[in-house]
Symmetry: C2
Subunit: 219 residues, 2 copies
Amino acid sequence: MRNYKRSPLMEERLAANRQRILDAARTLVARGGLREAQIGAVAAEAGLSSGAIYRYFPSKAELFVDVLTEAVRQEIEILDAIAAGPGTATQRLTLAVESFVRRALRGPNLAYAFIAEPAEAEVDAARIRCRMMFGDVFKRLLKEGIAAGEFPAQNVDASAACIVGAYTEALVGPIAPATRSTRSQDRLIESVRDFCVRAVGVSAPITPTARTRKSAAKG
Amino acid sequence: MRNYKRSPLMEERLAANRQRILDAARTLVARGGLREAQIGAVAAEAGLSSGAIYRYFPSKAELFVDVLTEAVRQEIEILDAIAAGPGTATQRLTLAVESFVRRALRGPNLAYAFIAEPAEAEVDAARIRCRMMFGDVFKRLLKEGIAAGEFPAQNVDASAACIVGAYTEALVGPIAPATRSTRSQDRLIESVRDFCVRAVGVSAPITPTARTRKSAAKG
DNA sequence: CATATTTGTGAAGCACAATTCACTTTTTGA
DNA sequence: TCAAAAAGTGAATTGTGCTTCACAAATATG
């Protein structure tokens, strides 16, 4: 028995286990935050023993960096698609913020829980990188809008960070927990979206169903 | 020896110790975040033994709730003074954001480190309350501005939260660490300030030395 | 000054949760 | 079917840092 080789079936099962661990971790974080997502709990949720986790991930920190990375990658893809899509920069910015906030509120998407929550240094570092990635999407959008004359000149680094900060706070801060009904969620989404759009200096405020109106007179 | 009474001198020394503990904790947090501020370190910094801490505070959590509360109270006082002061709502908002960001960047004021950092549930709860207190100051300002016709109607709860989130992110997020020179700090302060002012819907953007200009034409 | 009371000390105790490891079960290859 | 290899188990180990506590030092009272 020199040459041990995993059968394709086994290979698959292992990959499935790994994914189940990631999913379990994600679920627990979405449910109760990183605080609740202990190795034991993750293992139980995944239907494995705590020891088994360490066959798949070298440490708790690395596990959660992976969870975070995966969750954020999905979000970034969506944001990127919107940013690269059709329409004016204003329209795309509007859509990007709205879509992010809506998805976050819907949960258990948890990218948002991750952006905001604390953890061991290693995970923390990954979180900062992720916030930066989100910021970069907006930064690009801002540059385009400024070039197109839609937005006034501004410090795009700062504005991008402010946008990320603004909707994060609105999502995980004191406001969100009180926001339960679909009705009030919609209101929150609109409010945050409009806040961000105004913040980058769009002169004609956007109304619920946004369309470009070059000729719009301002009050 | 039935009726033991502390001499005034002793009373004073105890109060001084208590304050020294609070200061030590504050210093350590400002220096290395909550992560570094362990009971042992706080005790050493205060020139006491770890056991002594527990003569003054029932637990680490309560100690840090007190530290946080004290730090935030100072900030709120300043913000409140600005909010209640003279000038249009726009001017006061401008000044409030600018002043907060400037003070935070100056450090070791650490109110900001506290707003953003994680901790045990108890401290976390206090942090949320504090963010709400900051939000409330802006909320009032927004209401006034709307009443005065300076800002368009908007969800003041959401906008206030967004403002707090925006400058917090700009301060503790990815941007701030790179911001070292006074020059670039000034730029950051201006950028964040302008972002927030535009965000609430002031039609005429504010320039470094702000003045109201009703008639400003747009490009 | 003698004694009760409070304050200060810091090593020991404790709780909690990550990680390891001796062992069992399962899979693989002959 | 059997032995080597790998995967899985979960109780024991470990590390970390808050909290306690038996004792010492200081302070107050008679």
